[in-house]
């Protein structure tokens, strides 16, 4: 379960802070600490699940991994190369190898473009296929994601949510990526269709040897696709490890609360629930010490938690948690 020696994606101490203007006519500036000191690694054919609630920074992290936002500090290495050190042309070529699937496939599908054209675009830009070969490739991709070949002539709005998400996946796969960043890929889908898309993602991984960074707020969904899971809170990873261990014996009080809050579809399962008081603090003014301390229900919480930020420490084979207690 330890990450391989040379991971495909290697993020080290990544920090992304934004400055934004607020107040009357933007007279006030504030810094949003979206991602702070995040390190993670994903090997080939591996899936890392990333869970966290709204505003925890998971989407910013995803965008930074693709260099769609600029970093403040730290590095993102893909296959050994520092993405933030690449010249524009090199970055463009590198992007072929990393693709993203969004929650809302509309974000990646132009509403005025047929599905076929949208998929073909990637083939053309990266000069992978032309003419009849490109047409054939589009049909193959559509079939690979479980759509019929005539879906090429359809516009995105004519599709159901599940079909659109399949088309978004086909578009991402067209350029033969090695890493797929999936940002809430099934969150907008109904349960029966969600299962279809999750199964498709797992089949594609087995067939193509893909690596996934799979981001979701839904712990149950992540459990099904990711053998390794990282939990994010207020811009930081607070726990990371093998899914089985992390779900069975969460070490961080936030992970414990998060897991206890998920309703289990079994009326006979009665679990004690840890109810967290209040809302997560704002990433504009994260609390000092442990970012979780204002809501933490750990009985041993003390002054150290309030003033000293805990580092990720190994607590079980391959499992690290950032908590002073327990």
């Amino acid at each position: 379960m330890t990450p391989p020696v040379t991971p495909l994606l290697d993020v080290t101490d990544l920090t992304v802070h934004f400055t934004r203007r607020t107040g009357f006519f933007g007279s006030h500036r504030e810094t949003v600490q979206a991602v702070s000191g995040v390190s993670l690694a994903i090997g080939r054919r591996e899936t890392l699940g990333l869970v966290g609630e709204s505003g925890c920074g998971k989407t910013t992290l995803a965008r930074a991994v693709l260099r769609l936002v600029e970093k403040t500090s730290g590095t993102v290495r893909f296959d050994g190369q520092d993405l933030f050190a690449l010249a524009p042309e090199e970055l463009r070529r590198m992007r072929r190898r990393l693709q993203i699937v969004f929650q809302d496939p509309y974000a990646s599908l132009n509403p005025r473009m047929t599905i076929g054209r949208a998929i073909r675009e990637g083939l053309t830009i990266h000069r992978l296929a032309e003419g009849a070969a490109a047409d054939r490739r589009v049909r193959e991709l559509l079939e690979e994601v479980g759509l019929s070949a005539d879906a090429a002539d359809v516009y995105p709005h004519e599709f159901s949510g599940g079909q659109r998400q399949r088309a978004g996946i086909a578009r991402a796969l067209a350029v033969e990526p090695e890493l797929l960043v999936c940002d809430e890929p099934v969150s907008a889908l109904d349960v029966s269709v969600q299962a279809q898309v999750l199964n498709l993602l797992m089949d594609l991984q087995a067939r193509r040897g893909l690596s996934y960074l799979f981001i979701s707020h839904d712990l149950a969904v992540v459990r099904h696709v990711a053998p390794r899971v990282a939990v994010m809170y207020l811009g930081r990873i607070v726990e990371e490890g093998p899914a089985e261990e992390l779900y069975a014996r969460p070490r961080h009080p936030y992970t414990q609360a998060l897991l206890s809050a998920v309703p289990v579809p079994d009326p006979l399962t009665k679990r004690p629930r840890i109810v967290l008081p209040g809302d997560p603090p704002s990433p504009v003014n994260p609390p000092p010490g442990c970012p979780f301390h204002p809501r933490c229900q750990h009985p041993g919480k003390d002054q150290t938690c309030v003033s000293v930020r805990p580092e990720l420490v190994e607590r079980a084979p391959g499992l690290r948690a950032a908590c002073h207690k327990g």
């Binding site: 349960v191 029966s192 149950a220 809050a261 579809p265 109810v275 809302d279």
Partner: protein
Amino acid sequence: MSEPLAPPAAAPAPAPSPAPLLELADLRVTFATEEGVARAVDGVALVVQAGETVGLVGESGCGKSVTALAVLRLVEHPGLIAHGSRVRFEGRDLLALAERDIRAVRGNHLALIVQEPASALNPVLTVGSQIAEVIRAHQQVTRGEARRRAVEMLKAVGIPDAEQRYGHYAHQLSGGMRQRVLIAIALACRPHLLIADEPTTALDVTIQAEILELLDGLQRQMGMAVLLITHNLGLVAERTKRVYVMYAGQIVESAPTEALFAAPAHPYTQGLMAAVPRPDAPRERLAAIPGQVPPATAWPAGCRFHPRCPLAWEKCRAELPPLLPAGAGREARCWLLADGPHVEAAP
């Protein structure tokens, strides 16, 4: 919990069968669209007894939200509640009431919480005044008394600094706080029935847990009944005693919650349960239901689930099954429950 068929303990009415608090019969709602008439709700019958929590579960487009709106007569143009539909609440036929009389019921004894806390609050009124307004609309109290009760409600839903929050606007509150305000508005007149339509779907899971614990506590204090409308089977399992499953505008199964989860009778319910990923289950392929929900303008002939049903046979394609008995207090809309299906199923 050990007596599955006992009437809800909170109901003060004497046995054997109290008149239900809410009773829907043959509820039909249609929408005229460019593609034709959408039969969004197509003959729904359901019952909620005083004090009990009932689930109404289904996926998008099954008609569960339109059902809620129809109960409160809030279906908007081009939607129409069809003739012959019946909605009885506390013994009154809500569909026969004059507009001013239905207003007296809405927000008073019968309240609704919807999914989107952002759009359900008035952006230019303070949240406190919106609670006070509801109280004044239904009860003869002074402004000062309404204000005092509104602050009480804000406290009851766990909003800190309630006095100060009274004067805040919706945009100044987080999603979780806004949903609390909506609950405060809904419960301000101590309703006998709360219809909660995806009350926590827009919220994070830790906030969801907090809001549901709060609702639970208030429900116990007030003895109100709740009709919980959701797509989330986990919430149904955790929060309800009885459940109705909806598909394609119709109820396809109803059962005590424990019995439903122990052995779902309808193939759609079975498929839905198998498709739900569970936080406590090992990593494996999920059993997906093939295909997708058909559009409401073109429900399939026969059983509406037959194009997606692994067990469908000739009869399912030809005839719509009625709700058939499926055990104690249970019904399911499936021909498998009728007449030796396994024999007929063989070609």
